[in-house]
């Protein structure tokens, strides 16, 4: 018996390692493994990479208004491979948003949010919000003009919420306008609160998923489910790793081809910079330009009511849509709604990009 076996057995005798391992890996998946199921694992992988690069960045980054920009420049311009780690972190956030949307779309199309997986979906929508909050708070940290103005406008939007809006906006900014205190607050939210929240809600997400079990294909006979059945390990784990490797290559490629470049240091005087949020918030940004969302009430509609309603709808989805049918072609309303939404977001994003030169 090899030394590894001796150690393994010694631990197993004490904590029942074999059962633990079995519970983690030997989950029969009706209908077998698929690449379509890899999005969740890919997201976990990106989060681990973001946490790793984030921790590395914190070795040099100084979260104060008088040094944030300089320390970011130091990481980018002077440190060995600093540009790569920062660019990887930057592009990682974009890819993470794309992956979250892919993951949600896959679950939506597969009808996998339906009974008994409502709580998995609910935890998932909270994770989606946490990922967006990561993007929003991280965007300020380089403390350049782009960062400062996206935050100034973004928090101003929160201010439009009724009753609590003013308090929430001041709370986030740590004052009546964006400044040094805002940077401190966004930093602690980005590196402490959100990671803790993400890990907690992700654990719930996984726990709920394991309790409800995998949904499997939306269309299969009993015979097919049984003959194609596989454990999670090793075939699905293999497919997950393949997707993770692709994701890694894509993020590393983006970081190498388009490394982060800082604009001038943040200042309440934007000179010739035209403020704009990160691309995945562009559709919201464009929405607020529409005539129908003008004026105080219009702004409330466009900035708070509409996005708020969308999030509520997302959370309520498995409770509103109780039809157990999972085949996408037999759910024409749900499918057209999602196509309409995606096209709407694409058109708004395109409009925002097209009007840049104006």
């Amino acid at each position: 018996m090899s030394l590894i076996h001796i150690i393994y057995n010694w631990i197993d005798e004490r904590i029942d390692l074999k059962t633990l391992q079995a519970k983690l890996l030997y989950e029969p998946m009706p209908g077998g493994s698929r690449y379509a199921y890899a999005f969740g694992s890919a997201l976990l992988f990106i989060f681990i990479m973001q946490a790793t690069t984030g921790i590395l960045l914190m070795f040099y980054y100084a979260p104060t208004a008088d040094h944030a920009w300089q320390s970011t420049q130091y990481i980018l311009k002077e440190l060995d491979y600093g540009w790569f780690l920062l660019s990887f972190h930057f592009w990682g956030s974009s890819v993470m948003v794309v992956m979250v949307v892919c993951h949600m779309l896959q679950v939506f199309i597969w009808g996998a949010y339906k009974n008994p997986r409502e709580m998995v979906w609910l935890a998932g929508t909270i994770l989606f919000l946490i990922v967006m909050a990561f993007g929003f708070t991280g965007y300020l940290l380089p403390w350049d003009q782009r960062a400062f103005w996206a935050t100034t406008v973004g928090v101003e939007i929160m201010d439009k919420a009724p009753i609590v809006g003013d308090f929430m906006a001041r709370f986030l900014r740590g004052g009546p306008t964006a400044g040094a205190q805002t940077l401190s607050r966004f930093f602690v939210i980005h590196v402490m609160l959100l990671p803790a929240a993400l890990i907690a809600v992700f654990s719930l997400h996984l726990f709920f998923f394991r309790k409800a079990g995998p949904a499997g294909p939306f269309k299969a006979t009993r015979q097919q489910l049984e003959t194609k059945m596989e454990f999670f390990f090793p075939r699905q784990v293999f497919k997950d790793i393949v997707v993770m490797a692709c994701v890694f290559v894509i993020i590393a490629g983006l970081a190498t081809l388009w490394p982060v470049e800082l604009l001038d240091e943040a200042s309440p005087e934007p000179t010739d910079y035209n403020p704009e949020p990160e691309w995945y918030f562009l559709f919201l940004f464009q929405l607020l330009r529409l005539k129908m969302f003008s004026g105080e009430f219009g702004e409330f509609l466009g900035a708070i009511a509409l996005p708020g309603l969308f999030v509520l709808l997302l959370m309520a989805l498995p409770f509103i849509n109780r039809n157990p049918e999972r085949h996408p072609l037999k759910r024409p309303f749900a499918m057209s709604a999602v196509v309409f939404l995606l096209v709407g977001i694409a058109v708004l994003t395109w409009m925002a990009i097209a009007s840049r030169s104006q």
């Binding site: 009993r222 005087e269 607020l288 004026g295 105080e296």
Partner: protein, 309 residues
């Protein structure tokens, strides 16, 4: 149904043995087969419509001669339920191995005492947490609300603004103390030398009163001076707007690059989502023609100006 391990198994003609194991279907998450131990061999028998389970007995609806059609158990093709993860199986599996009991500790049998300790634990938790709420809230909200600064700041000379109705951006340095950090940065506002038409548009013949949070007037802009100063912050969502000499539709306008609000040189909204006209800042001219302002900021997105700094 109450399927028991060791239940007797009887065919229509005679008893053939006992249930030694059960086999679970991972898709249906229920028992699909029983393993019948008969004469020292184990056969896998489906638990279908031909099997009736009663207390301690499985009655099969065929004679014992048919038992031979069912395969022997090949143990290597199966795993124990605890060796895999099948969601929700424990709740649905109804195999009854008999009760194994452990006594409730004597001290735990007194429900009243248990309730007392539970409530007391919760109470201590609340007593610990409550006094922390207020200090923590104060700690976190400390910088959120600040007194307004009504100091006059020199931003430039009115003599530099020559052309009538043509706005000029005036940049100035401002020192701001945020918490422990004192920083100097550049800010800018727009100054316009106004014609009488613009004067009428801005003042409507009346002075502009500036009130603090309590409603007390701290300054009055009289319509007399030839210049007005607009806050550089767009009243829509707080971006910095710009001056355009040749806008495609409106000609000479203030234009905000963020959400495309457009204002005429008098500050009136011509197009876009802005909820109110540009904010005119409290201003005075010194004897030497220097422009001095109170660098107030107003909340964006409201239909009337609410001062925040």
């Amino acid at each position: 149904m109450m399927l028991k391990i060791k239940s007797r198994v009887r065919c229509s003609d005679r008893e053939v043995g006992e249930v030694s194991r059960v086999i679970v279907d991972p898709i249906e998450k229920s028992i699909s087969h029983i393993v019948v131990l008969s004469d020292g061999t184990e056969r896998v028998v489906p638990l279908d419509g031909l099997a009736v389970v009663t207390e301690g007995l499985v009655q099969l609806g065929y004679p014992s001669s048919k038992m031979g059609q069912y395969p022997f158990l090949e143990r290597g093709n199966y795993q124990q339920v605890k060796e895999v993860e099948i969601a929700g199986l424990e709740r649905r599996l109804e195999v009854f191995p008999g009760e194994a009991l452990v006594p409730v500790p004597t001290l735990e049998r007194d429900i009243t005492r248990r309730t007392f300790f539970t409530n007391f634990t919760n109470a201590i938790g609340v007593v610990l947490a409550l006094p922390l709420v207020y200090p923590v809230l104060r700690y976190l909200t400390f910088p959120m609300y600040q007194d307004f600064n009504n100091n006059w700041i020199k931003i430039g000379s009115a003599q530099n603004v020559i052309e009538i109705d043509k706005p000029r951006q005036i940049k100035f340095q401002k020192t701001v103390k945020e918490g422990y950090l004192e920083r100097e940065f550049q800010k800018s506002h727009w100054v316009v030398k106004i014609s009488d038409t613009l004067r009428e548009e801005i003042y409507h013949g009346k002075p502009i009163e500036y009130k603090d949070a309590s409603g007390k007037v701290y300054w009055i802009n009289k319509p007399d001076p030839d210049v007005v100063v607009y806050s550089g912050k767009c009243p829509h969502l707080g971006c910095a707007y710009k001056w355009k000499e040749n806008h495609k539709r409106f000609g000479r306008v203030f234009w905000c690059p963020c959400h495309l609000s457009i204002y005429d040189p008098g500050g009136k909204v011509l197009d876009g989502p802005a909820p109110r006209r540009l904010d005119v800042l409290p201003m005075r001219l010194t004897g030497a023609g220097e422009i001095e302002i109170i660098d107030a900021e107003f909340k964006a997105g409201k239909d009337h100006p609410i001062r925040i700094i």
